[in-house]
Symmetry: C2
Subunit: 309 residues, 2 copies
C-alpha cells in the first residue's frame, strides 16, 4: 500500500530533500540523515496521507465533500488535496490553533469550523457535519490509506539512503510512524525503529508499556501536532509490532532543538516536527547505532512563537 | 577559471540545493530558482572563493599562513579552508561583527584580530600582519581566484536549471556577481544579469551610473556582508560589462524577506544573503523575465537579531 501510495500522491506531494551535516553528526555522535518534510507542500508530511485517501475517492464521494478535524497540519493538507480535485472541504479546528496553520487552510478555500479544545469533542462536531453532508471523513491518522500515505516519507528516505541502522519519527496519533515502520521493515528487516513523543503527551509511551491503549489528559506541550491523547486503534498494533522504544522529549529540549537546527542547518522545523531530531541530538537512543534516518515532519511555526524561544 | 575552480574546490565546497516553490512563484510573478548558499559549508558562498585561492597556494606559502579581513562570512570561509590544508590563519574582523560569524571562525582555530570599524583601516592592519609573517592575503573579493571561485555558484545553478532568462545576486564588493555573471554569460550569452544592493550602501549602483568607482560612507545597513564602501578595481569592470541594472533594497524589505522565506520555504537566509530574493519578491525587475536564478548567498544570522525582526 505504501508503494501504491507513492504513485498515487505524485501529483500532490513533493519528493522532499534529504540532508546531512558533518557538524550535526559530530554533535549527535552518529550519521544523521534528515528527511525534510518541513519543506513538503503545506509545510508537513500530512499531504501524503490526505492525498492518498482523497485521490482514491469516487467522483460521487468527492462531490459530497470531505471533512477533517485537525490542530493544523492535517487541516492544511486536506484543504490542498480537496482543492486539487475540486471537492468541498470542511475542517474542524481548535480555536487556538496556530495562525500559521489556520490561515493557509482558509486560503485553500476550506470551510473552517472552530471548537474549544478543552470543552468540546472535535469528533462529535465532525460526525454532525458528516451526517448533514454525506461527505467522507479524512481522519488524521487512524486509517489504512492515511498510514500508507505517510509511509511514503520513509520510502523516499530509504531510496536515497538505503543502509540505515535505524529510523526515528515523531508520534502523535501514530500514523506517520506506523506507515514509515511498515515500509522500512519491509525493505530492511534489521532496521531498528524508534518513536519520539513529548514528555507532556506520552500516551504511546505509556500504552506500549501497558500493552494496551492508554489515554492521557489533553496537553499544552508546544508540540501542538502531537497532543492527541491516545494512539489509534489501527496505528497502535503496528507500533507494538515494530517500535523498539519511544523516547520522551521535554518542551525545553524542543525549543533548543528548533533553534539549533535553524542556526546550524538553516532549516525551520516546528516543535512537533523536530522531536525525533531532538531525541538524537540529546543522545537518547541506545548504543550501537551508527546511522539513523530522522523525519523532520513539519515546519509550520508562527514567527512570534519562534522569536520567543 | 570558474570551471577549474569547480574542480579545485570540490573537497571543501558543497553542491548546495536549488529550490523553487509554486507559492513563491505566484508572489513573484515569475519562476524563481533559489541557489541555497545559505546551506553552504560555513553558511555562505564565501568558501568557494577562499578555498579556490587557498588550495592553489604552494606548501611554502601555506606554511607562512593566510591573512584575511572580513565582517564575517569570508572570515569563516578562510578559517575553514586554512584548517583543511593545515595553514595558520589570521583574520581581521570588526569588533561588532555578529557573534554567529565570529565564534565559528574562532572555533576553526583562526587567530582573530578585532578593530574599530568606524575609526581603523582593516587593510592597514592586515598589511602589518602580512609584513610580519610573510603570509598570503586572501582578499574578500578583488582577486581573480576569488571571483572565479564564487562563480561556481552560478555554474552549479545553471547545471540544474540551464534555461534561465535572468540571474540576480547580491553585491558587496562585487566578487560573487562578477564570477557568476562571467560564467553565466559564457554559458548563455542572452542571460540578463542583475545585482541587488542595500539602499544604505549603494556604491555599485552609484558607480555604474557614474561610469567610475564611487565610494560611499560606511553604512549601518543590516546587510552586514554588503557594507563595503566601493566596488573592487577588478570586479567593477566586469560588473560594468555584464550587469543590466542594480536594484536597491531597503532594510525593512530585507527584514520582511527574511521572515517571508523563513515562513514560506522554511529556510533561514541572512539579510545580506536575501537581498536578491527581496528584489524579486518586491517586483523590482524589468518586465519580460519569465524565469530567474537567485543566489541566496548566506544564512548566518544571530537568533536574537532574527527574533527582533
Amino acid at each position: 500500500m505504501v508503494r501504491e501510495a507513492s504513485l498515487r500522491i505524485r501529483p500532490l506531494a513533493r519528493h522532499t530533500p534529504v540532508f546531512s551535516s558533518t557538524s550535526i553528526n559530530e554533535v549527535a555522535g552518529l550519521d544523521v540523515h534528515f528527511k525534510c518534510e518541513n519543506m513538503q507542500r503545506g509545510g508537513s508530511f500530512k499531504i501524503r496521507g490526505a492525498s492518498n485517501l482523497i485521490l482514491s475517492l469516487s467522483e460521487q464521494d468527492l462531490a459530497r465533500g470531505v471533512v477533517a478535524y485537525s490542530s493544523g497540519n492535517h487541516a492544511q493538507a486536506v484543504a490542498i488535496a480537496a482543492r486539487h480535485v475540486g471537492a468541498p472541504a470542511t475542517i474542524v479546528m481548535p480555536a487556538d490553533a496556530p495562525r500559521m496553520k489556520m490561515e493557509p487552510t482558509r486560503n485553500q478555500g476550506a470551510r473552517i469550523v472552530t471548537y474549544d479544545r478543552t470543552a468540546e469533542s472535535r469528533e462529535a462536531i465532525a460526525e454532525q457535519i458528516l451526517k448533514e453532508t454525506g461527505g467522507t471523513l479524512v481522519p488524521p491518522f487512524d486509517h489504512p490509506m492515511i498510514m500508507a500515505g505517510q509511509g511514503t516519507a520513509a520510502l523516499e528516505l530509504l531510496e536515497v539512503v538505503p543502509h540505515l541502522d535505524a529510523l526515528i519519527a515523531p508520534i502523535g496519533g501514530g500514523g506517520l510512524l506506523a506507515g514509515c515502520a511498515t515500509i522500512a521493515k519491509a525493505l530492511n528487516p534489521d532496521i531498528r525503529i524508534f518513536g519520539a513523543e513529548p514528555e507532556l503527551s506520552n500516551d504511546t509511551y505509556l500504552s506500549l508499556k501497558a500493552g494496551r491503549r492508554v489515554a492521557v489528559q489533553p496537553s499544552e506541550t508546544i508540540a501542538d501536532g502531537l497532543r492527541s491523547p491516545q494512539p489509534g486503534a489501527l496505528t497502535f498494533p503496528i507500533l507494538q509490532r515494530h517500535v523498539e522504544e519511544v523516547v520522551l522529549v521535554t518542551d525545553d529540549q524542543l525549543r533548543d532543538a528548533v533553534k539549533f537546527l535553524l542556526m546550524r542547518m538553516k532549516l525551520l522545523v516546528e516543535p512537533s516536527g523536530i522531536i525525533a531530531a531532538a531525541a538524537v541530538l540529546y543522545h537518547r537512543l541506545p548504543k550501537g547505532i551508527r546511522s539513523i534516518g530522522v523525519i523532520l515532519s513539519g515546519g509550520n511555526l508562527d514567527f512570534e512563537h519562534l522569536a520567543a524561544y
